[in-house]
């Protein structure tokens, strides 16, 4: 089913999405908020620019964006997948607790802030380009993978990555030289065992956006994890 969003407000658009039993193509999307919020079982493809909180509380199904996305994509999503063929705004994957987000390009500030995991629920976010400051702030679980593809002279991570991190892992396709990390995390070159955790996600990224997984995997990755020996020590202050 094709929905032309041109003369619809976000509420009318979301009502149509909810009431449809078919997969959906949205055209002329322009800033409509909360698209597919709480959706469980459909596939939604968006042409145009979706508004904030795209796929908030997503609980299954898939969302594909054929352009950039704005802020707070996948806020508190629990399941399903979001694929963005462009860049994402700030706070993508905010408090994400399951499912996967693939961003072809860059992510804004605070990507993966407060991601978490529980038993088999392990959220995954792959950022193809660079990530803005405060990546993985307060991260409590899940996997964040930053690939740094085609970023030119931009730094792969902004300032203050992993501030307050106390769970999960951040993989960065870089040696991370010159990147300041807080005291409560451990930084090490990714081992073969580490890489086995992320390989399939990188292969999927490459399948979605058309690039060579072997090339990507050839480079050295760094893995950042909380220092689990004393996770609460010096989270923000020396104590």
């Amino acid at each position: 089913m094709i929905i032309n969003a041109e003369n619809l407000d976000y509420k009318a658009l979301n009502d149509l999405i909810r009431s449809s039993s078919e997969d959906i193509q949205i055209t002329n999307c322009c800033g409509h908020r909360f698209i597919a919020a709480g959706m469980e079982n459909k596939s939604v493809t968006i042409n145009g620019i979706p508004g904030n909180a795209l796929g908030a509380y997503l609980n299954g199904g898939s969302i594909t964006v054929n352009s950039n996305a704005q802020d707070a994509v996948g806020d508190t999503m629990n399941n399903g997948s979001i694929v963005i063929h462009g860049n994402a705004g700030d706070a993508v994957g905010y408090a994400m607790r399951g499912g996967e987000i693939f961003i072809k390009g860059n992510a804004g500030y605070r990507a993966g802030i407060h991601m978490k995991q529980y038993k088999d629920k392990v959220p995954v976010m792959v950022i193809g380009g660079y990530a803005g400051s405060f990546l993985g702030e307060y991260q409590a679980g899940g996997l964040i993978i930053v690939l740094g593809i085609n970023i030119g002279s931009k730094k792969i991570l902004g300032n203050f990555p992993c501030t307050g991190m106390h769970g999960g892992a951040v993989f960065v396709r870089s040696s991370c030289d010159g990147i300041k990390l807080p005291g409560q995390v451990t930084v090490s070159p990714a081992s073969d065992e580490d890489m086995s955790l992320i390989e399939k996600h990188i292969v999927k990224y490459c399948g979605l956006f058309g690039c060579d997984a072997d090339e990507i995997l050839k480079e050295k990755f760094t893995v950042i994890r909380p220092d689990s020996k004393n996770p609460y020590k010096q989270m923000y202050v020396a104590n």
Partner: protein, 362 residues
């Protein structure tokens, strides 16, 4: 009418701007439409616009836009203006009656020129006289509020949604090379006509999305230099700080940005020696003007504009361009509304100013 500070409304906002680097004129309809997809960022308690290059036939005169509560207030205020300025033109600003905008005050504009004799006796330049006059009217003439005072530019603001405010003021009839816009969702204070954005002094105008945690420290500091924050609205203080740093201290826009959104000491320590020295000097010398808390702002001025996020980037702001035009907005959707084929869309980092100037003198 209850003023700012007498009522508390718990709270967001939308900003947008467009400028032609070549100084090509655009009607106010473009920026009005840009606010439509961001409708839900505002709550109908304020909208406003600033247009630059809109008064070419009066470009040598200061354009005062003033709200009056009553006819008597207008007479008093005009009397006061006439003591220091020659009024070459006085008129009601044309508006449309529309259901979405109600309870409007009297809205007038004056094109004025300062008396040389007054400047001479006060030993100040004409911009200083204009600034002092604005402060004086806004603090001492009860029921009068100067909401625009620059040359060849003008601010238009009202209580309502921004897209309605643009229709109310007939912005499609104005042609400017640069426009800024604001949709208000008041934090802490009520929506009233004077409290809407942009906040202006001379040709400096500010539209702001955010809430300044350092407001009172900034206010106390700027009031030492003769500015009066009469509205308890945080954005007002940014306008006066920018006027102080740029007009009175002769700093560059970039330097002013490094003061109000100063980098963290840890970030400064990673810079090369020369930059480290400059940033340290600015942070030390003007520490009272560091603005903390979330903000994304656009500062409009004659011949250009500057967009800036707080150093932690707690508010969204994206920039795009197409041919001679540069677009700035809280959301990409607004940019796409102005120019569906906008290119090089990116989000500047926190504290990284985007300064765009018109190539030729306007």
């Amino acid at each position: 009418m209850k003023k700012e500070g007498q009522v508390r409304i718990p709270s967001g906002c939308a900003i947008a701007a467009v400028i032609s680097r070549k100084g090509n004129k655009m009607s106010g309809e473009l920026i009005t439409n840009a606010m439509k997809p961001m409708h839900d960022r505002s709550n109908g308690l304020g909208g406003g616009f600033a247009g630059y290059g809109i008064y070419p036939e009066y470009k040598d005169f200061y354009a005062f836009h003033i709200f009056f509560n009553s006819r008597a207030t207008r007479k008093d205020c005009e009397q006061l203006l006439k003591e220091s300025f020659e009024i070459v033109q006085a008129e009601i600003i044309p508006t449309r009656k529309i259901p979405a905008i109600t309870d409007e005050p009297l809205i007038w504009r004056y094109f004025v020129s300062p008396f040389k004799s007054v400047l001479k006796s006060l030993q100040i330049d004409e911009k200083e006289l204009v600034a002092r006059t604005v402060m004086m009217i806004n603090t001492s003439v009860n029921g009068a509020y100067v909401f625009s005072s620059g040359k060849n530019m003008g601010t238009f603001k009202a209580v309502g949604f921004p897209e309605d405010v643009g229709v109310f003021y007939k912005l499609e009839k104005y042609e400017g090379y640069s426009w800024t816009a604001h949709g208000r969702y008041p934090t802490n204070t009520p929506g009233w006509w004077g409290g809407c954005h942009p906040f202006t002094l001379l040709d400096y105008s500010i539209v702001h999305n955010g809430e300044i945690s350092s407001y009172d420290a900034n206010r106390r500091a700027i009031e030492m230099f003769g500015y009066k924050c009469s509205l308890q609205t945080d954005t007002e203080v940014i306008t006066y700080i920018m006027d102080y740093l740029i007009r009175r201290q002769n700093l560059t826009y970039k330097e002013a940005a490094s003061i109000i959104a100063a980098p963290f000491w840890s970030t400064i320590s990673s810079k090369d020696e020369k930059e480290k020295q400059l940033l340290t000097y600015l942070r030390t010398m003007f520490s009272d003007f560091l603005i903390t808390g979330p903000f994304s702002i656009v500062l409009g001025f004659n011949g250009g504009l500057m967009a800036l996020n707080d150093r932690l980037k707690l508010r969204s702001m994206v920039v795009g361009e197409k041919d001679d035009k540069v677009f700035i907005a809280s959301e990409e959707a607004a940019i796409r509304t102005m120019e569906p084929d906008a290119e090089n869309i990116y989000a500047p980092s926190g504290g990284e100013p985007v300064i765009v100037k018109v190539e030729e003198d306007i």
